[in-house]
């Protein structure tokens, strides 16, 4: 905790906020509560647990089905269990009560005869009579089970009967008014018992000569309670067992459904990742097997289609590559012949000499085209490999500019380089990057109409960018995306000065892509064009932005 407050709670670390009485809202959570370390840890722990549970809930159908089944079946079993226990317990108690009442009615006659001559005032006589009645009635007692007997004399013998069982006053009122009455009340199960147990007391008035005695039958309900207890336990256990069984069944069933679905998902994932030979193992003829078979059929037809297309494109690529290779041997012969002719051109008549020169320069073009075709077929075949090295971009720019020195002089275009004074190092395949820059420069010279060409270098922490800007013919709207197409010509009527192959920018784009870089074009008719190459400083990094804008700054206001 970095902030220490002068408050007593914060300084003592006690978890109780002393009630100062100044807090107008007792419901508000005090500020320190949110920052208490224990609270924070507790929150993070509960948060993690909740997160894990919700995660499992979202991810797994099995967890969802299992927990739903568990909750629903638990509630249902609970309701049924409570109902059963309630019904059975009620029935047992009703039977006991009926038996007790009939016992009391049966005993009335003999009790009456015993008590007929007993004087209520003589305690010894009453005790005798009680003993006699007890033995008589106990002997005749049948279905109602064990009981004990208490005799009270009206109006109230509570003072002298304090040692006997306590009869609730409400019951006595009823009995005294001449009714047979029943009440559940705690009784002592036996004379020497320490604790009362749940019991049933039946009371009846007995008419004697000297007055009315109250005769009470006390039935302990121990046996009944045990039965109900046992029943409750049994129902509980059965209920829990049932819930577990249902949950288990539901898990088993979902597993049977989920497993093939998971296998299908995994297989589909592998197929998507490129392993077209993956299939789902299919057993039986049920719905899931049908799903699997359809899936496999789909995968099979997909595989066949892709194979066919792959074969086709491989054949085509092989063809391009083979043609380029096969052309090389005759081209070598032709080239040697033309060199030989060129060496003797002074001895030829003027027309023949010029023809030899044309033959020679066009052979150069033909060779460049062949080289580019081979290069692009290597890209198409996925055989192009990056030979990356850490190097200074400025050196690459300089050699690219030098390569076009002669052409630039012929065009009258000045090449201006804006670059930092320090080394601009990055991971790159210098051969490819130089080729990109040579192509961009050649392109700029071709379309720059003799105006200056500006090369700008920009860098930030993650990326290095070069822009090549010309102020020549520019591009029509929509052409910025087309310039990288193979053999695309901006203006078919324009003469070509560098004798480009028409593949230069397409190869450059592939070169940039191989570096995980960007090559983009901007252009406006009459305002020239700008190409921007952006490369990640370190191999394997993904570009997010470029240090230089694609649209030149001086064009920003007009053509934003």
């Amino acid at each position: 905790m970095t902030v220490v407050e002068p408050g007593p709670a914060a300084s003592t670390g006690s978890g109780v906020q002393p009630d100062s009485g100044s807090d107008p809202d007792p419901e508000a959570v005090p500020d320190w509560w949110d920052r208490h370390p224990v609270v924070l840890r507790l929150r993070s722990v509960t948060g993690a647990v909740t997160g894990a549970i919700t995660g499992a809930w979202r991810r797994s159908l099995q967890v969802r089905v299992g927990s739903t089944t568990a909750v629903v079946s638990f509630v249902v079993v609970l309701l049924i269990g409570v109902f059963i226990v309630d019904q059975v317990a009620g029935g047992i108690l009703r039977a006991k009560r009926d038996a007790a009442v009939s016992q009391a009615e049966l005993g009335l006659v003999s009790a009456t005869s015993v008590l007929a001559n007993v004087d209520a005032g003589v305690v010894a006589d009453v005790a005798d009579a009680q003993q006699q009645i007890t033995s008589t009635l106990t002997a005749s007692g049948k279905s109602a089970g064990l009981f004990s007997i208490a005799i009270e004399s009206a109006p109230s013998g509570s003072t002298e009967k304090s040692s006997g069982p306590v009869i609730p006053e409400g019951l006595r009122e009823l009995v005294r008014s001449g009714n047979l009455a029943v009440q559940y009340a705690p009784v002592l199960p036996s004379a020497d018992a320490q604790h009362t147990v749940a019991g049933l007391i039946v009371g009846e008035p007995v008419q004697a000569r000297t007055g009315v005695f109250e005769l009470y039958y006390l039935f302990p309900l121990t046996a009944e309670q045990q039965t109900i207890q046992l029943l409750r336990r049994t129902v509980w256990l059965a209920g829990i067992g049932l819930v577990l069984l249902i949950v288990g069944i539901s898990l088993l069933v979902t597993r049977q459904v989920v497993r093939p679905v998971r296998v299908a998902a995994r297989t589909a994932g592998k197929i998507a990742a490129g392993d077209l030979s993956q299939r789902i193992p299919v057993r039986g003829t049920d719905d899931l097997a049908r799903l699997g078979r359809s899936f496999n059929e789909m995968a099979g037809s997909l595989q066949r289609q892709i194979r066919r297309l792959e074969d086709l494109s491989r054949l085509q690529r092989r063809f391009t590559s083979d043609v380029s290779h096969e052309l090389r041997t005759p081209l070598t012969t032709i080239r040697m012949a033309s060199e030989l002719l060129l060496n003797y051109r002074e001895e030829f008549p003027a027309e023949l000499a010029r023809s030899v020169e044309l033959l020679h320069t066009e052979l150069d073009r033909f060779e460049a085209l062949l080289g580019d075709l081979l290069e692009i077929s290597r890209y198409d075949a996925g055989a192009a490999k990056l030979e990356s090295d850490t190097a200074d971009l400025r050196g690459v720019i300089n050699s690219a500019v030098q390569a076009h020195d002669v052409l630039a002089g012929r065009q009258g275009s000045e090449i201006v380089i804006n670059q930092p004074n320090h080394a601009v190092t990055l991971d790159m395949d210098t051969r490819r990057v130089e080729r990109i820059l040579r192509n961009l420069l050649g392109n700029a010279l071709d379309h720059g109409e003799g105006r200056p060409i500006i090369i700008t270098v920009g860098e930030d922490e993650n990326a290095v960018a070069v822009t090549v800007r010309d102020t020549g013919v520019g591009l029509r709207p929509g052409e910025a995306g087309l310039v990288f197409n193979r053999f695309w010509r901006g203006d078919t009527s324009r003469s070509r000065l560098t004798g480009g192959t028409g593949l230069g920018l397409a190869i450059s784009l592939e070169d940039a892509r191989l570096h995980d870089g960007w090559l983009q074009a901007w252009g406006v008719r009459g305002h020239g064009a700008q190409f921007r190459l952006t490369l990640p400083r370190h191999a394997g990094h993904t570009l997010i932005s470029s240090p230089l804008p694609l649209t030149p700054l001086d064009e920003d206001e007009e053509h934003a």
Partner: protein, 229 residues
């Protein structure tokens, strides 16, 4: 005497054209179109240099290269139509000294051939000694002989040139580019794998353990130098 060049190429037009160019440049060409006959013709004509096409009927150029190298150090220049990395490395490893990719300019080809045939301005009695003190490598430049542990080591002329170039300036580190210029005669930057492959071949002959070189040392990030004498 005109240097003899053996052209091993199955393309008759190219072979004929090569013949014209070579004769023009003062070579005496011989031809063979079939790879399986190449070694036999080589023995008969005893050429000073061989131009070898990689794609041949009968025996492949790589196999021809190996067969010739097994019995002679005669310079071999591969003519390859493939710019593919693996083919070039395979050719160099099988013993070719240099390669040139079709379509090439005749001047370039002749320059390469001359570089391979160039003789050193041999200083009489020059003997260079490099390598570890207990087992030095001594080079008799004039006699084209290399001896280590009282045993003569057979080197091809190119390997010999490479070793001499390094041994003449024992403390100097040579970059691959410098070696390409001095040994192969390249004017501008070329394939530095040429150097790597030949240094490996040289090491396999002069080093006691090519994995731990003592004679031709690698200077990481720069190039190679001769081990201390």
């Amino acid at each position: 005497m005109k240097p003899r060049a053996l052209v091993v190429d199955d393309d008759s037009a190219l072979a004929e054209m090569l013949g014209i160019v070579l004769r023009n440049d003062g070579f005496e060409p011989a031809f063979v179109a079939d790879g399986s006959k190449a070694v036999q013709v080589f023995r008969e004509t005893k050429p000073d240099i061989i131009l070898l096409d990689l794609m041949l009927p009968g025996l492949s150029g790589i196999d021809v290269c190996r067969a010739i190298r097994a019995e002679s150090g005669t310079p071999i220049i591969m003519l390859t139509a493939k710019g593919d990395t693996t083919d070039i490395v395979l050719g160099l490893e099988s013993g070719a000294d240099d390669y040139i990719v079709k379509p090439f300019k005749p001047k370039e080809l002749v320059a390469r051939m001359r570089a391979r045939l160039r003789h050193h301005e041999d200083v009489l009695g020059e003997t260079l000694v490099i390598g570890p003190g207990e087992s030095p490598v001594s080079i008799d430049v004039a006699a084209h002989q290399v001896v280590r542990d009282a045993k003569a080591i057979a080197l091809t002329p190119l390997e010999f040139d490479l070793l001499v170039a390094l041994a003449r300036k024992p403390r100097q580190v040579f970059t691959r580019e410098v070696l390409l210029e001095q040994v192969w005669g390249y004017r501008h930057a070329a394939d530095t794998r040429l150097v790597n492959v030949h240094v490996q071949r040289l090491r396999s002959k002069v080093e006691r353990d090519p994995e731990r070189p003592e004679v031709v040392l690698t200077v990481r990030g720069v190039g190679y130098k001769a081990g201390p004498a």
